[in-house]
Amino acid sequence: MARIIAERLVTSLFVIFGSTILVFTTLYVLPGDPVDSIIDPSVATPEMVENLRKELGIDQPYHVRLIHYFSDLFRGDFGQSLVNSTPVLPQIIEQFPKTLALTIVSSCISIIVGITLGVLSAVHRNKTIDVLARMIGLFGISMPTFWTGILLILIFSVALGWLPSLGSDGWQTLILPSFTLGIIGAGFIIRMVRNSMLEVISENFITTLRAKGLTERAIMYRHALKNALIPALTMMGMMIGDMLAGTVIIETVFSRQGIGRLIADAIMASDLPVVQGVIFFTAILYILINLIVDLSYSAIDPRVRRSILHD
């Protein structure tokens, strides 16, 4: 196990290094001048623009800026926002817990709703509950996040007045956004669990169990479900990454704080240090999540462990 972790960590370092260079280069090449978002370009004189560029250090050539960026990173310095001159790292640290809370609650909703409905729909195939579960699944997968979000706001905040539609203080503000995000994940899990359950059910060992006289309930929940959950687990690992990405939209729609909103605003303002900082941070997070998911398979399923070792 230690070897697996060590190998994965080394690869991860390369991935982080590579993605940082990639992001830096992409942002460098893309059009968009941070100066445009700091001062109104129609008002500023070229002299003002030039001075500001110098002040911000963005008049330097690519390689100089890249070297600076990396040497700063090694010293734990993520730089300063070009727009409001505040250091990037404290901003990320301040915003991250809000995004984390949203991601965790949404994942829980996805997993609970997804597995429950997935199993029910496979067990009660072609019954009402199956149709309903499939409809919810289809809804989750096909509706754009912002649309679902606005719909939920209209129903539960505006019309019924039950839940707040904005802000990030208190558990109540978590409900609508995490449902919006959770329902998407749930949609995928429902389909995944349903399919793998149906597949498992048709396998020979189930017939054997039936022949042995086990109750249908015991067969389904004790034997079939356990086997059906392995592919769903991979899915959930990937999903947490998607959820982090989904927060960009959710945090904007529900006016929540969080790194999704931070990066969305930073992109709009071409605030390079913030964009780079958030991406660097999320890359590390993404890699960590994947590492945990991989390791947890090998813990659950010995076949996976063996295959990683013999690669």
Partner: protein, 540 residues
């Protein structure tokens, strides 16, 4: 599909119907305006902003959203009343030297900043010199302060400001929010972070700022020097004033309808009618002043240097149709290069011309652009294309304007290519890579025209129309230095007529700043430029 037969489908439809009917029946009564009115005017106001401010430092601020917030914290030497006249604020009166280059201001002696620093001549000098200092990274403030050169403190409450050249707009510029007076103590202490820790002399003091979430202000209890803007000369009525940042339109409107905020800015045109018919909500609207949203034609690009080609655009673009289609009559159509509230606005331009497709086509024919097989005009084997550049987000439906213009010009044989880019510095200002580009500006003086139409000095950046027109230059120069108001008005009328006759621009709309509030919110006022003011505001 099989499941259609299932009873589950029918129950879903039923459930959906119940939800929808629930929505519609309760939407009208969701807010409860039946709180008992009290004698005591007070309360906490939450006000939703549509964009995220990046700084509350007036010297550094570049955008209107920021002014809306820090206008409550800071004050300037002078202020501008809704009728356009200039009134004292931190200065009580002033004299202008005969050569128009020295302004002497007498200052109030009873004012203190929120941090206890006394307001005096040195604070004024500090604030203005700070804008000149490159370390401040001042942008708009720097151009508003022009042609200020230096200040001379005469005594604690008298100051002389020296200008490089006379300026007819200097007084009005001093009323602009960017030239507010900052606390020297706080500005020194916080340096580049002053924008996160603003300290001024206004009716509200800064409490906290949660990035991307809210900015909290509270009443400054010692405030008693009033403002010509408000009836209330004492401390504000509100205990706290919280600006919530809600960028998503639907959420902003929804938050107001569900009373999660008591006021929200920039109500989208499609919601305005619903607002007006809902008794629990109110809609306030004030046109912003300055340059309306205007399409500037790049006269350096072929064939737009030719008057006939520009006129063809003027006749070919049906502005009324654009404004009616996109804003449902909630935005006023612009007719001139400046907005109706500015000094010298030429009313005679209103309804003075109509779109005329045939005339537009004739004008293009006259200068040799003949229709090709695909309906697009050609001259000497060159197709008539027009590169329409817009900056990315669909602010005020500006992207949609581009699309309608594209349709309209296609009818007269012009192929419009729409390019969305955020990199205005490079595309527009450096490379001049456009034929049409739209812009607007909030400003209180017609001198704003100078920066958009006057031939720039050697080496300076070109204007949006890339003009080089000595006649216009001369008129704009006269407008800048003419101190006699009647003469100044005549000059600006001539300028507007000339810009129209030369078809230099296509004015589109005057932007109304709209604020929706709960019925319980009273006394939000607007200053001349359309910025809100909360000194008279209270919540019933």
């Amino acid at each position: 599909m099989k499941f259609v037969k299932s009873s589950a489908f029918h129950s879903c439809i039923l459930a959906l119907a119940i939800i929808i009917s629930g929505c519609s029946s309760s939407s009208g009564s969701s807010a409860s305006p039946d709180r008992t009115p009290t004698e005591e005017k007070a309360g906490d106001l939450t006000y939703a902003l549509a964009t995220n401010p990046s700084t509350l430092d007036p010297g550094r601020s570049g955008w209107a959203v920021e002014s809306r917030v820090y206008n409550q914290i800071f004050e300037g030497l002078l202020t501008r009343l809704p009728d356009g006249s200039i009134a004292p604020q931190l200065a009580t009166d002033w004299d202008i030297s005969d050569d128009g280059k020295t302004y002497t201001f007498h200052l109030r002696d009873d004012v203190t900043f929120h941090d206890g620093t006394p307001f005096d001549a040195e604070a004024v000098q500090y604030s203005f010199d700070r804008i000149l200092d490159p370390a401040t990274q001042a942008g708009n403030a720097l151009s508003a302060l022009h042609p200020y050169e230096s200040a001379e403190v005469i005594d604690a409450h008298t100051i002389k400001l020296h200008l490089a050249t006379p300026s007819a707009s200097f007084l009005t510029n001093l009323t602009q929010t960017q030239l507010s007076i900052v606390s020297p103590t706080a500005a020194e202490e916080h340096g580049s972070q002053f924008g996160q820790n603003p300290v001024g002399t206004g009716p509200f003091e800064f409490v906290s700022w949660q990035e991307n979430s809210e900015i909290q202000l509270k009443r400054y209890d010692d405030y008693n020097w009033g403002s010509a803007q408000s009836e209330n000369k004492g401390p504000a009525f509100l205990d706290t004033l919280t600006f919530k940042i809600i960028t998503e339109e639907a959420t902003r409107v929804g938050s107001l309808q569900s009373s999660q905020v008591l006021a929200a800015e920039t109500i989208p045109p499609q919601n305005i009618e619903a607002f007006e018919s809902d008794p629990s909500l109110k809609l306030l609207s004030q046109n912003t002043e300055g340059l309306p949203y205007t399409l500037f034609i790049n006269s350096e690009h072929e064939p737009w240097g030719e008057l006939e080609a520009r006129q063809a655009l003027q006749y070919g673009i049906d502005v009324q149709q654009i404004v009616d289609t996109l804003y449902f009559g909630t935005y006023d159509r612009a007719w001139s290069s400046i907005t109706p509230g500015l000094l010298g606005y030429d009313e005679s331009l209103e309804h003075s011309f109509e779109p005329d497709k045939e005339k537009a086509e004739q004008l293009l024919e006259d200068i040799g652009w003949k229709k090709g097989t695909d309906g697009i005009r050609e001259r000497d084997g060159e197709r008539l294309t027009l590169n329409y550049v817009d900056s990315t987000p669909n602010r005020e439906k500006r992207n949609d304007i581009a699309v309608i213009v594209q349709q309209q010009l296609k009818e007269i044989g012009i192929d419009v290519i729409i390019e969305l880019t955020k990199d205005i510095s490079t595309t527009i200002h450096e490379n001049g890579d456009y034929d049409l580009y739209g812009n607007s500006q909030v400003n209180g003086d017609p001198n704003a025209l100078r920066q958009f139409y006057r031939t720039p000095d050697e080496g300076a950046r070109k204007t949006l129309s890339r003009l080089n027109d000595p006649k216009l230059d001369e008129l704009l120069e006269q407008g800048t230095i003419e101190l006699d108001e009647e003469k100044r008005i005549a000059i600006y009328k001539e300028i507007q007529q000339y810009i129209h006759q030369q078809a230099i621009i296509i004015p589109i709309y005057v932007f109304p700043y709209t604020v929706g509030t709960q019925e319980s919110v009273q006394g939000i006022t607007f200053d001349y430029l359309g910025y809100p003011f909360f000194n008279d505001t209270y919540v019933r």
